[in-house]
Symmetry: C2
Subunit: 359 residues, 2 copies
């Protein structure tokens, strides 16, 4: 499909993979899943459908320098620089406006640079179908992930059955409502109800559809859209910088998806994970019979359920269970796998105590 | 007391403090208790009673080089070199024979270099009393440690009540029997019976008493004693080396104490610990309210009962319990505190897999 463009959102900062991830090296720039960075994996996943000339990235200046090194096949004009990180709505306004000016019928697949997709072929087929649906129906399209547990860490998409469209063998459901991250009780209700899927944060839309929905449902943001269009036409980056000073730092979900009237959801059942924390890798890295997933040099005695990452140092684990152990040259994390979200508190502590060299 | 000599047994090899201890740096050469090595602590403990001219060490050549660096106050003739490590009996034959030749009435306090004694003043008083008892009674004297739990890792000394002697305010009990390390059931019986104390491995004897008891109770070892005396008189170190080739590698407990008829025990209630493993330091290092004992740079969140040693690297512990964490530049140990005796298996594995650089 010639008008399909991939916009890779690579601007995330993330602290949940400390100490391996640092300010200058967030998750998308780390080889966490394989020996390639997640960004490279993400690009490789769309390459069979989209040539490099139609793959764009959005990130800050420093990150863009890294992208240039990692992905020399991307053309310079496709490396979009955000003057500052302001969540996904500003990034996607900038990227979609850029493509709108090149080609108003461009279909944009907005994809985070740091997600895992296990079944790549299935993902590719569904992406093609979603792009077709975006063009044929004039809707904003989103991938909903069939939930496997009552997660409280994701937003949910409530959708209406039966499907509104069937396109290239895929069902597209009208979205009733986007739901914020629920508490556990609500998440359990969602799971039982069956028509609440996780919001994957992956979206597909035609550039002109995006502009129209923004104008109708989010006039304040549409005002920024128009400013961005003018700034891009003037080719004056300082104008973009000025807009990014002002534009609210909000997610595209909150800025547009929740408010837009024409939104469709299709099933993202292709082995998706947002790899949100170290322990999520226990289901990704190959594990031994005791459920230990090891990358690096380790000797494990009477230990089970552990994730060990130690590329440099020999590590002996004895008689321990369900630990996440991450060794880097200047910092070591040892964490119960059910508490790995508290890594943020360590990062906060390092901020507060001025240990900048460990951030 | 002018004839009191201290013989510091510094030849141990020990693998239980891996990865901090290495072949070339066993426990006695490490600052595990304070910022001084255990050897230095041991020497400092006897210094007020015994001047450097009467402090001897026994160790192999390499270890003796380290002793020379650490303790320049010791005179060269007092640094006894064992041609090879053969357990405590050969070491103490060599040391006692050396002193016997200098002064047959010498009183020898044989002290391991790697024990902790919390109440130093009490220890010093009891050592003086034991030395007096050794001289006055012509017995071999041993410190028995009042047991605090049914330990299976120590030998026991069964003693007879009431005490046979009272010297300088201290009671000296006739030893009925030395008992090997018991199983748990037997250890419980010992604890209930009340007249079984732990064998501390610290002994006091007059040199000529030692020779006499050896001749009477252990004629085979007495034969080696006579050879050592001759070798020392000849000042030919190669003769000592030849004897050490042949002499059985046995403990002094097994070689002499268990067999001798004149053995007294006195209470070693001066806060003794043999610091037998990492977890034993949980009772030695200062701990926070959650029972965490930390040396080095650490941030502990919702963690308790952990021993953390990390002199170089920042370590974050989150949501973990009862862990021993030892970080060194090239190896890291993470171990449940109740399984720290399995550190030996790691060392064995390193041997078997040829990772000599980590030993």
């Amino acid at each position: 499909m010639e008008e399909l463009y991939a916009v890779i959102m690579a601007g995330g900062q993330g602290t949940r993979f400390w100490p391996f991830s640092r300010r200058a090296q967030p998750k998308q720039f780390l080889p966490i899943i394989s020996d390639k960075t997640m960004l490279e994996e993400t690009i490789a996943r769309v390459q069979p459908l989209v040539p490099p000339s139609r793959i764009l990235t959005v990130a800050n200046q420093e990150q863009t320098n890294q992208i240039r090194r990692l992905c020399p096949e991307l053309s310079e004009e496709n490396l979009l620089v955000e003057p500052q990180g302001k969540n996904t709505a500003p990034s996607l306004l900038l990227a979609t406006a850029t493509l709108y000016l090149r080609h108003p019928q461009a279909i944009v697949a907005a994809l985070p640079a740091d997600h895992l997709i296990a079944d790549v072929e299935r993902f590719q087929n569904k992406l093609i179908a979603a792009a077709a649906a975006a063009r044929q129906t004039g809707h904003l399209i989103t991938f909903g992930i069939p939930p496997t547990f009552p997660a409280t860490g994701y937003g949910y998409i409530q959708f209406k059955q039966p499907p509104l469209y069937k396109i290239q063998g895929e069902s597209f459901y009208e979205v009733a409502q986007f739901k914020e991250k629920p508490d556990l009780e609500t998440a359990l209700q969602f799971l039982q109800a069956g028509h609440f899927f996780w919001n994957s944060g992956m979206f597909i839309w035609q550039a002109e559809t995006f502009a129209r929905e923004l104008a109708e449902a989010a006039p304040e943001m549409y005002n920024y859209w128009e400013q961005i269009i003018l700034a891009l036409q003037s080719e004056d980056f300082s104008k973009i910088a000025a807009i990014f000073e002002e534009i609210p730092a909000i997610s595209i979900d909150y800025a547009l998806m929740e408010k837009a009237s024409r939104v469709l959801m299709t099933r993202g059942d292709f082995g998706w994970s947002d790899v949100g924390s170290w322990s999520s890798l226990l289901e990704v890295w190959p594990a031994d019979e005791q459920g230990n997933a090891v990358r690096g040099k380790g000797l494990l005695l009477e230990s089970s359920g552990c994730l060990l990452f130690s590329p440099h140092k020999f590590v002996a684990l004895i008689g321990v269970k369900d630990l996440v152990v991450i060794d880097t040259p200047d910092a070591l994390l040892i964490c119960h796998k059910e508490q790995d979200q508290k890594v943020r508190e360590v990062v906060k502590h390092l901020h507060q105590t001025g240990k900048k060299e460990l951030l």
